[in-house]
Symmetry: C2
Subunit: 501 residues, 2 copies
């Protein structure tokens, strides 16, 4: 096989793999947005057939041969093709290392675990779900051994979610973060300052909230021709290619801020996917590079744009126009304060910007213990309660609003939570550098985010998976990851809001 | 290969084929309900890959061998497996008779034609679409030759949509129908009776219409656990298996009757799909047997149940409760008359029960001419205007509301329209026999449709594709198709409504 033939085969293979991913992605989206409740079993069978075919196509030995052919003749081929082959080889090595029976059994385990978790969460029945956690951890430790024998298994999974991320980096990051956030939070509580957000908790009709979503998408310059909004229990973003991105939100009549920040957050993810380079279309490079970098974009828009005073001042007249009476006697500054109110709370997805990272730390510490064998699933409710007390100073009334709240563990997404916190820290670092090139405040207050988006596209979005997170940081900031930007940002912002010196 | 081995292989094949159909079906549904407008190209590529794989799996020579193995040893195998093999062999023979390049080219032609049709309809530009009609007719004539050399090509396509249906049957059917409807319509118009339906054309808020849809689904005893309602431009029903059926509707603020009858009509299709026999699950038999029989169920519910005075009287108090002020001074009888008002109109999908069949006849006569070579696409606007004048007595102002109004021809669905009219006639015949066993009026006026649905399930639904339309009629009615029931029904109903003697 010549390198040219291999490149052609690679392209055909990618087209097929894309088709299966696309179809499975649409089925997943449909299941969350439109499918009737009783349709899961039939969909499970279909997804089983499609994922099995995907595995057979991708993990086939001749795929290894064609990738090797390209990679051992890099000098004879364009750099883009070589890059595609390199990234696909990474995926290939990992996928083909898991024996097919174990892969299928694992898919089944996750599917069962997710079903049980839904019921367990609803019925506050952790005992029903616990055995799945132990089985999932056991499987993940075994798989980590296939991927990277000899390496610490939890580091393997951290790096699966965020290439290059280790417990060493995270321990230092979370320690510095905790060192800033906890005292800041204690000072806020000690000062006894109460921000009034009662005007947010009136009735905001859903039709008006939908019009507001459309407006926010427009301010974010998201092309609706390629990005639709759906409604789901938990908001998410998914993409089938750069011309078909979906975000979802959830409307609560008495919490307009929930959908508002879901749209802005998911909109940040969408912008990233909508702007991967045209030259990557159809290839394995045509998507965001990692969970952490993805989350950096969603959090950048959610918090550093969407919760800034400049942004809220700009959109406030439109909010008044859309919602009318509820905002008659409210000022933009009052709205800014209300949307940035800090308060330790039980649920991660409802946490404010300041306390959010503490929720992540609870999960990180527990995952470390599970992987080290220092804890089993049965210990988790106790550990959870203990850490929520230590980190956030609150008591956990039940497992539903405690250890059962997130779906991640039921999907075997371990080593995944830290990328949420890492994403916020990346975002602060990106913004610090962006501000050296662009007057971000001015862009936001004039309602023209284009210069900001152009900068992000130039430095981050267009590369897709063509650069690893570490390379993206170097490319955008000229320096490696540095969490100080984030801790400084939090301290400055919340000291000002709460009038602390 | 033993017959036992062949049966096992058949089951595995069906599972795979189901998976591809399911995935393609969900992608189609998603494209109509949720996908952003600019996403068509990427979806087209994916559907190309999936349908190509489907073709390869299904039209493979060894599939022919395994089906032959079963069919030539029918006595060694259970009757259900033999029936599955028989029906699948029919599909197989047809699919494998079309050379793959021609199949792919035809799929492409239809996809292009549909895109052009959308634009042409919007811009009233028939000339842009006309060449596609000629190409499609030419291809269909060629394919008919592959399917059944020597047979009249239009008969081949009629039978593709409704097994056993011929122009001979249809000519007689439409002639008798026209002989009843046209004079009836002329008498109605001559009498000059005006039914007041102005109260229907006030503002009916969409949220309330949605609640009304939920109520209608409940009255129809449709299990929402397996049947969801979506919103699309044109209502339709689709099903992936008997535990996942989707109907769609369209809400118009000032036309609540549009969504009302869309839900009841599509609900009739859904009931059929939800009640195919459990023993058919996963096989090629697990769906409605034909377009005509399907349409008989949707029209039975739409017209013979949903537009009956018994039904409207039963639901009217709930309508008043849901919609409130708009129906304050309206009686159930006035509502019954308004929902049965006859008036010749331009658009098939908005036609009343009486004039509907005339719209079908226009299309049938034109399709016959196209297949006989007596007309080319360029002649269609003229023919359309002429027939609308002759059949409905109205003038066609433009092609958008004339020959371009339906999507069917852009999808090469020729020979398909007649099944709409045939369906109504089947429905009348089924109802006539149903009434010999069941007090249908009483069932409807007490709001308990169960006896009616049980009868239909027993006689029709549970067999899926295990019986052809002709067998279904014999099974349910003990006699072959007889259109007199339908013409009698129309005459009786509309003579009463309009007080004709």
């Amino acid at each position: 096989m010549t390198v040219r033939e291999a490149a052609e085969k690679l392209e055909k293979l990618e087209q097929k793999l894309n088709a299966y991913n696309h179809a499975m992605g649409v089925m997943y989206y449909d299941s969350a947005t439109a499918a009737p409740a009783g349709s899961a079993a039939g969909r499970g069978e279909t997804l089983g057939v499609l994922s099995g075919t995907y595995y057979e196509l991708f993990a086939a030995p001749d795929v290894g041969v064609l990738l090797e052919t390209i990679l051992s003749n890099r000098d004879e081929i364009d750099t883009l093709t070589a890059k595609k082959a390199e990234i696909m080889k990474r995926d290939y090595d990992e996928t083909s290392k898991i024996p097919q029976e174990e892969y299928v059994a694992f898919t089944k385990l996750c599917s069962d675990a997710e079903n049980v978790w839904h019921r367990a969460k609803k019925e506050n029945d952790f005992a029903a779900f616990a055995p799945y956690i132990d089985q999932i951890v056991e499987t993940l430790i075994r798989f980590a051994g296939y991927y990277s024998p000899g390496q610490d298994p939890y580091d393997v999974w951290l790096s699966q979610n965020e290439r290059g991320l280790t417990q060493k980096t995270l321990d230092a990051f979370f320690e510095s973060l905790r060192g800033k956030i906890v005292p800041l939070l204690q000072r806020i509580q000690a000062e006894g300052i109460e921000i009034d957000d009662s005007f947010l908790h009136q009735e905001y009709p859903i039709e008006k909230q939908k019009a507001f979503s459309d407006y926010l998408m427009q301010v974010m310059q998201i092309d609706r021709n390629y990005c639709a909004i759906g409604e789901t229990e938990h908001p998410f973003t998914t993409n089938f290619n750069k011309y078909d991105v979906r975000i979802t939100t959830h409307y609560y009549t008495e919490h307009p801020e929930f959908s508002m920040y879901s749209v802005i957050h998911e909109g940040g993810h969408a912008l990233y996917e909508l702007h991967t380079g045209d030259e990557l279309i159809g290839s394995c490079l045509a998507t965001g590079t990692s969970m952490g970098v993805h989350e950096s974009q969603s959090r950048l828009f959610e918090n550093m744009v969407g919760r800034s005073e400049a942004f809220i001042s700009y959109i406030f007249p439109k909010m008044q126009e859309i919602f009318g009476p509820q905002l008659q006697n409210v000022t933009a500054h009052q709205m800014y304060l209300a949307l940035n109110k800090c308060e330790p709370s039980l649920i991660r997805t409802e946490a404010d910007e300041l306390t959010y990272a503490l929720h992540i730390m609870v999960r990180y510490e527990i995952e470390k213990k599970l992987f080290k064998g220092e804890a089993k699933a049965k210990d988790l409710p106790g550990l959870w309660a203990e850490m929520m007390r230590a980190y956030l100073g609150i008591e956990v009334p039940d497992d539903t609003s405690g250890v059962l709240q997130d779906s991640h563990w039921s999907n075997a997404q371990m080593g995944y939570f830290p990328s949420y916190a890492i994403g916020s820290a990346y975002a602060a670092q990106f913004v610090a550098h962006l501000k050296r090139d662009i007057d971000m405040e001015k862009a936001i207050s004039s309602g023209n985010l284009k210069p900001v988006e152009d900068w992000l596209c130039e430095k981050i979005w267009r590369f897709g998976r063509g650069m690893d997170p570490e390379e993206i940081l170097l490319n955008a900031c000229g320096e490696p990851f540095n969490p100080t930007y984030y801790t400084d940002y939090l301290e400055e912002k919340f000291s000002a809001i709460y009038g602390l010196k």
